[in-house]
Amino acid sequence: MSSSVVPSIKKDFIYKLISEGKRIDGRAFDEYRSIKIETGLIRKAEGSAKVKIGNTQVLVGIKMDVGEPYPDSPDMGVLTTSAELIPLASPDFEAGPPGREAIELARVVDRGIRESEIIQLDKLCIEPGEKVWIMFIDIHVLDQDGNLFDASLLASLAALYTSTVPAERFELGENFKLPLSKDPPISCTSVKLNNAIVIDPVLDEEEIADARLTVATDKKGDIRAMQKGLSGSFTIEEVKKIIKASIINGKKLREVLNKSIRG
């Protein structure tokens, strides 16, 4: 399958299906594709997880190092999130430094994790002002078939919840489980197509969508992060509708995540 211009016939057909209440792969508007989460695959990483949503695959690895804290938070660990849209994952991804899409992906996932304060960064201080744990979340997209945001956040969370701080390697005592709070933010991404809202867009839908909204919510149903993408617009009603649907679907996805990290 190679990259090519999307024929207008295809776009018109997807629109026609939408007007009849159908989607190109037969799902309901508020239905996710099948989700598979695997953890602990990368031995060299402190934690890792691979998430498959339909055919989309994202692998996240967690690495840790010891370094200096930020001057304005001398007793907190440091968190950095990066994403790579490697050329392996799509005929449209080019080799080179992260472009705007990769950077947006990394920053949105980072905000979701940082703002929900699930990583207890205060417990990652070694010597205040001098030495703290530096955490790297590296998102490696392996197969692009739509909805990289949800796949990346889920994989990042699954990797974090199965991570071990490698204190022994740095002669700082025994290894310990990464200190995390139990309320991970779950993101749900929806797109607007022909004035309808569908959740978990597959690539065919993402390519022709007008606008996209990702909403991360916590266990209580409170909003932790949001990001609108693409150059179309939403009405106020549509935004509210999407947020409500994200809260409901977020609960389902949270169950899938919990099952994978308990195992």
Binding site: V5, V6, S8, I9, E20, K22, G26
Partner: protein
């Protein structure tokens, strides 16, 4: 009943050069014939050919294909034909009289056309034509893509497979040699035809496929 075809991979010995000649997808060395492709071993007359199981579309003059307009210039259109290179459709090769600079009036970016490969030169430059009968711009319907090497199976012997799909779904279907297929009908019919074609693509080289496809088509769902 045909016997189960054997799979060949690159560098596998597929025949004896004393009894056979090297056909498509093979080379001869030291009295033996080797495969260069992942595919099925096929013996025709005294040639051994490899029918590829994967790979890009190889444009051949005379092929009818479905192309998508990728770029427009004052005197021609660049057409994506699902091959390693874009093809060129010149204003002289269309059924309309096109004034200079008016190319986008007739075919716009992302339009789909039914065209024929006119010629392919040594540097693999591909020239298309729409001047023959039956070639036209495609409107409405849906376009799906399958692996080009599966096209013969979708069409079937003397067109029997594709006729069966058309009959049971009530759809108009045009199969391009380049793996692009245009399907037009009501959404249920298009959806069923798509499923049938995808199943053929996945099981192209198995026995009893025609019966299984007929079962899928007859099913009310």
């Amino acid at each position: 009943m045909e016997e189960q075809p054997k799979i060949a991979i690159p560098s596998m010995v597929v025949g004896d050069a004393k009894r056979f000649r090297p056909g498509r997808g093979t080379f001869e060395k030291g009295g033996k014939i080797y495969s260069t492709r992942l595919g099925l071993i096929n013996k025709q007359a005294n040639f051994i050919n490899i029918v590829p199981l994967s790979g890009v579309y190889d444009p051949i003059p005379g092929d009818t294909i479905i192309g998508i307009i990728e770029d427009i210039s004052p005197t021609n259109w660049l057409v994506n034909i699902n091959a390693p290179y874009p093809a060129v459709l010149h204003v002289n090769e269309v059924p309309w009289h096109v004034e200079l600079g008016e190319t986008s009036k007739y075919l716009k970016y992302a339009d789909a056309i039914l065209a024929k490969i006119l010629l392919v030169d040594e540097t693999k430059k591909i020239i298309l034509t729409m001047k023959e009968r039956g070639l036209h711009k495609l409107n409405g319907g849906q376009i799906i893509e399958i692996q080009p090497i599966k096209v013969p199976r979708v069409i079937g012997k003397k067109g029997t497979m594709i006729s069966m799909i058309k009959k049971y779904t009530g759809c108009r279907i045009i199969v391009g040699q380049n793996g692009r297929i245009w399907i037009d009908g009501n959404t249920d019919g298009v959806e069923k035809a798509t499923r049938a074609i995808r199943k053929i693509e996945a099981e192209a080289h198995t026995k009893g496929l025609t019966i299984r496809i007929e079962k899928l088509l007859k099913n009310r769902r």
